[in-house]
Amino acid sequence: MPDFLLEIGLEEIPSRMLAAAQKELAERVESLLREQRLLESSSQIVSYSTPRRLAALASGLKAQQSDVQEEVVGPSWKIAWQQDAFSAAATAFARKVGVSVDALRKVATPKGEYVGATVLRRGEAASAILAAMLPACVSGLYWPKNMYWREGKPERFVRPVRWLIAMLDSTVIPFSFAGQTAAASTRGHRILHGDEPVLLHRATDYAQRLREVFVLVDPVERRHVIRKALDRVTRIIPQGRWREDEELIETVVHLTEWPTVLCGMFESEYLGLPQEVLVTVMRDHQKFFAVEGAGGALLPYFLTVLNTEVDDEGQAIIRHGNERVLRSRFKDAQFFWNADQKIPLTERVELLRSVTFQKDLGSYFWKTEQNLRIAEVIGKTLQSRGKVLDHVALLQAVLLAKTDLTAELVKEFTELQGIVGGLYAQAQGLSETVASAIYAQYLPASSEDPIPQTIEAQITGLVDRMQTIAAMFSIGNIPSGSRDPFALRRAGNAIVRILAESAFPLRLSELIAATGQPEASVALFLRERLGFYLKENRGFAYDVIAAVMASDADDVPDACARCEALSAVRGSTDFMVVAAAYKRIRNILEQARQAGNKWAEADDRLLTEPEEQALFAASARLAAQVCELRALHQYRQALEAIASLAPSVDAFFSKIMVMTPDAALRAARLRLIESVLVSISGIADFAEIVQA
């Protein structure tokens, strides 16, 4: 039961790509082994990665493919068997497939009778198969960004390949890729081990052998080591704990082969800067972890994850270097902060004239004017519908929302746009409502982010994004396929989420109308975004979403409520009966209409059968009930009421033929089923529901 090791040695792979590449390599190796029948049921595949390598270790494989019996077919029986003996053609066939003539026999196929034989195919050795298949296995790896490096540009890969290992137990599998030939030697840590090749004796020695040369090949182990080290190092800081940051942990896991953690300090005078600024500098620019005290306030420390292990003197040197860089960045931030205060936000509105929003549309000053117009309408509309909000503060927030784009601090740390504006508004004595609306206007920036907390911030963000979408669509910047350079889809998603989660009594069409550019393509676009939200964020089944949206897709919170209700009743038998009846009624009415039937004036008194009368009564009762529940947005109860129609619908359709020859009776029955349809419509188009 041999073990197989594959390692691809590379110049440093971008950290953001490593996790996916490791996973893909494991999958590719597994599918290769499976397709080649080299996997035992007990075989196991593990994978590893560091910035300089990707590896997979498959243990307990078959050394050899098992032999297989294969049926082969030759010439037709008529040609093979002539004058009571096998012909020359048959003999040639037997020789070709490697059996004696005696082993030939007649086989019946759909195309007629042929000569055939059972042939034993010897399984090939695993090493031969792997040698042949590995180049394609490795070269097929997907990378988000590739490069050339060799003369003649024979291949593209994420970074230059510098060595390869392919071993079955202790034997090297001969294969070449990207100018490298597989061997049994790898490399250790660049600095702690150096350039000396590291020989492997057996495939399974891999992880242990690399540990000896200062490489932890398993990212899971590195993550663990880093977390433990962060905890340990933070212990020396009284009350201190490092600020949890899963994304940053992932980054440093994939930037290191031998991680250790070092704690540094900065002058506490910089704690006067807002913690958002401090954390952005530390996290985004230096990949440092912030340290906070008992109350969550920042302490003047940072933690950095090294890709090496050094003595005390080395620690002092590295700490000093990192502190030096951080200090100069903080000094810059401090300088910008102070310089920015000289021009308050209110005076910066004018400066927006020279900041281009989009060259064919106008400046951010122009955009601010547009945003204000829309905010005026939306704010008033929401107020008139009972939402409590500070309209004056809303307009001031919208007026100042973009002014921080002129601030030096934002030019330096673009990821802090909005946040800096909010902080400046606060520092300049504007109301908390205004400051927090500016601060949170870009939330949610991703699907993990929450929506802003205050209604003024929600509207500020809503209006800004709606204006952007409408304006971009008006000049033909419409997202298509993978092209969405202005991130309009993300803006659309945020609009839908804010509407859904704030439960604004505001229809998408009203929002679009407020922009003054009510284009059909914008409506369609937002409708798509709603579908995306219901599916990706809320996880509703696609037929539920289709049914709800076919009925109405304009009122976002309402669509959500209807999806919830429909998902809840969808499993019940009664509901499915009604849903089926809905589709049936629609089809009958459609066909009847096409056949020239008219039933608006039909006489209900002709309905004398008990099933007709029962359905008539149930439908009339239901219509009133559903109407009332729908008005109260009590969709769950409404749908349950609708489901209660199942017995009478069922009885009706099993006993009554709607399309009876009697024209008057037919009209009355058509009128009856149409009334049923009307009474159960308006929540979702049940025809979209997929019957289990």
Binding site: M147, W149, L306, V310, I317, V325, L326, S328, K359
Partner: protein
């Protein structure tokens, strides 16, 4: 010590000798020693050493020794210090970390040897960085210059949290796909010197130390006035109308030369082909690029215009790169035929 001449284009360079040649220095290197060490190191690895290019450029990449040499098939290895002017970055000599003109040590390895990263690490040892006591990371950073129609894949090299080098495998230059690929290593000399000497301001970097008296001359003694005057000129005095006019003139002349090059393919005399002055056309293109930077620093280019002017300069860079490549090919062909 091995400083044998090595074949240009050989794929591996000897990695031996570094430690013996460049022991750990007692005092941190002065600014000029830093440059000497890098030059000596790379010269001993078979690189041509060149002086800075004498036309204003924003980066070492723009000097013809990089921009034009990376085109075409001919192997090349060169290192040079390149003062790089970025008018908008000027701070009148008041900011300790920002300069109008900084110095890049630019290294071009075409094609890159397979041990290019190891060589780079040796060069750090050669300037007194003992990597066993530092934290070094290669972090993804892909370089792109829209004005040059150039891009590459690579890293920023981080030393104790400081970006000290930009390491790029050029993929395209002047809009032309490259083969062979070139490795470009750009050391930020001021940054590295400030790091080595542990000074907080670039102006405090010791530029040279008199070996007899021990007297030190600092970066500020030599460069501060330069920074001040050029900041004043770039931000206050540069005549916007004249800058535009210069830009138009240089652009027209450059474009005329590019247009004239279109007939080169028809020529049959290699000498005739070879003498056509495309290197001069490239100088004119560099002039345009610098004028654009000046106009930008002056705040004379609106964001809308910006894209357009960048496109104009890119058209020149791409035009020169194409013409130069055809010229090389045509001259080569006629040479072979003759």
């Amino acid at each position: 010590m091995v400083i044998a001449s090595r074949m240009l284009g050989s794929h591996t360079l000897s990695a031996s000798g570094a430690a013996a040649d460049f022991g750990q220095p007692a005092a941190p290197l002065t600014f000029q020693e830093l440059l000497f060490r890098l030059q000596t190191f790379w010269a001993s690895r078979g690189c041509v050493l060149q002086q800075p290019y004498d036309v204003e450029v924003g980066a070492g990449t723009m000097a013809p020794e990089t921009f034009l040499r990376v085109l075409g098939p001919r192997p090349y290895r060169i290192g040079y210090a390149q003062p790089s002017r970025r008018p908008a970055d000027g701070r009148y000599g008041e900011n300790p970390n920002r300069l109008f003109k900084h110095t890049q040590f630019q290294l071009i390895l075409k094609p890159p040897p397979t041990n290019v990263q190891e060589l780079y690490l040796e060069s750090l040892a050669a300037i007194g960085i003992d990597l066993r006591r530092h934290d070094l990371k290669f972090e993804e950073d892909n370089w792109e210059s829209p004005t040059l129609g150039a891009w590459g894949i690579g890293w920023q090299v981080m030393l104790d949290g400081l970006e000290i080098t930009q390491f790029t495998y050029f993929q395209q230059c002047g809009g032309i796909d490259l083969d062979p690929i070139t490795a470009e290593i750009t050391y930020g000399l001021e940054r590295i010197a400030a790091f080595l000497q542990d000074v907080d301001s670039i102006y405090d970097i010791v530029w040279m130390r008199d070996p007899t008296t021990g007297n030190e001359i600092r970066y500020g003694d030599i460069r501060l006035e330069d920074e001040l005057h050029f900041s004043v000129y770039n931000f206050e005095y540069a005549d916007v109308e004249k800058l535009w006019e210069h830009l138009r003139l240089y652009e027209a002349e450059c474009q005329a030369l590019i247009d004239g090059a279109s007939t080169l393919a028809d020529l049959t005399d290699a000498a005739q082909i070879r003498r056509y002055p495309l290197l001069s056309a490239f100088d004119l293109c560099l002039k345009c690029s610098h004028l654009f930077n000046l106009l930008d620093a002056r705040g004379a280019i609106s964001v809308t215009e910006r894209v357009g002017v960048i496109a104009r300069i890119r058209a020149l860079a791409v035009g020169v790169a194409r013409a130069y490549t055809s010229q090389q090919q045509a001259a080569e062909r006629e040479n072979t035929d003759a």
